[in-house]
Amino acid sequence: MSVVESRVRDHLSNQQDPQPGIRLTEQQQRARRARSLAIALALGGLALLFYVVTLVKGPGVLTQP
């Protein structure tokens, strides 16, 4: 096999597998989606909590009693 043929073959195989590395299974993808959703909900809840507490306490939100 010539060098050119070898390079063409490598190029074709790279085209078939463009991103070598860790491939998530269906279950891993589902779990990651669920975790991402939970993190988003938690962050949203935290932002809402700060917003509501700011409304309740007014401008001196960090003023201690």
Binding site: A31, A38, V61
Partner: protein
Amino acid sequence: MSATLARAEPSTAGAGDYIELMKPRVMSLVVFTALVGLVVAPGHIHPVIALTALICIAVGAGAAGALNMWYDADIDARMGRTAARPIPAGRLAPGDALAFGITLAAFSVCVLGLLVNVIAGALLAVTIAFYVVIYTMWLKRTTPQNIVIGGAAGALPPMIGWAAATGGIALEPVVLFLVIFFWTPPHFWALSLYRTEDYVRAGVPMLPVVAGERETRRQILIYTIVLAPLGVTPWLLGYAGPLFGAVALAGGAGMVALAIGVRAEQNGHAASKRMFSFSILYLFVLFAMLLVDRMSAGLALW
């Protein structure tokens, strides 16, 4: 190399595994006792601030639970009751549990300190540190007094609730602290009497493993005799009504009667199982009565 690959394997842990890591049943008891501390406290706290305090306390308790499961994964794997937890079952990597626990602990303490008050935040930090460092990392594996001293962590939530409402500490929440503190040993020792083999297998020096069943039964009775009058103290000090006093007296008498039964038991563990179940009911009813008492007093004023 294989260990490295195993660590690099993408996680299949779902949100449910992380919730399990936070010990939701323990969390609910912590929130309940903190709520009682908050409601019993004098003065007024805005409902949103009260809710913020309870959320922070719940998340802080969850953080302590997650860090406990991270550190105790080896013990959990050897005990039937805990072998299916997310880390020993292989559903969650220990490093993920550690990161989760530290993040929740930092957030809960900072948010409670900033949005409610610094005393409450500091008490929550002490509670988490006491449970994770003093109890889990130190006492649990070294002394049969592990749950006696470590019980202080479980007893602190009413004080955090009180501090959230008032910005300080007083005698009343200290009494509630003492009630839970003296309730913890008879409750856990009753359980450990019929789970001794688990603790032997895990190498945890619980009292029945180290001192034997006879001594454990004697200590259960002693702690219960101290607990019963302590349970009535809120009524004696005047911050709970006669209905609470009557329920606390009856509950305390029930606890002492069951502890005498445990002490007298020669074969089997039927009395220990009864004691364990009743102790949960006793603490729940005691704190629920304080809540009812304070709410009915509030309604009467209204």
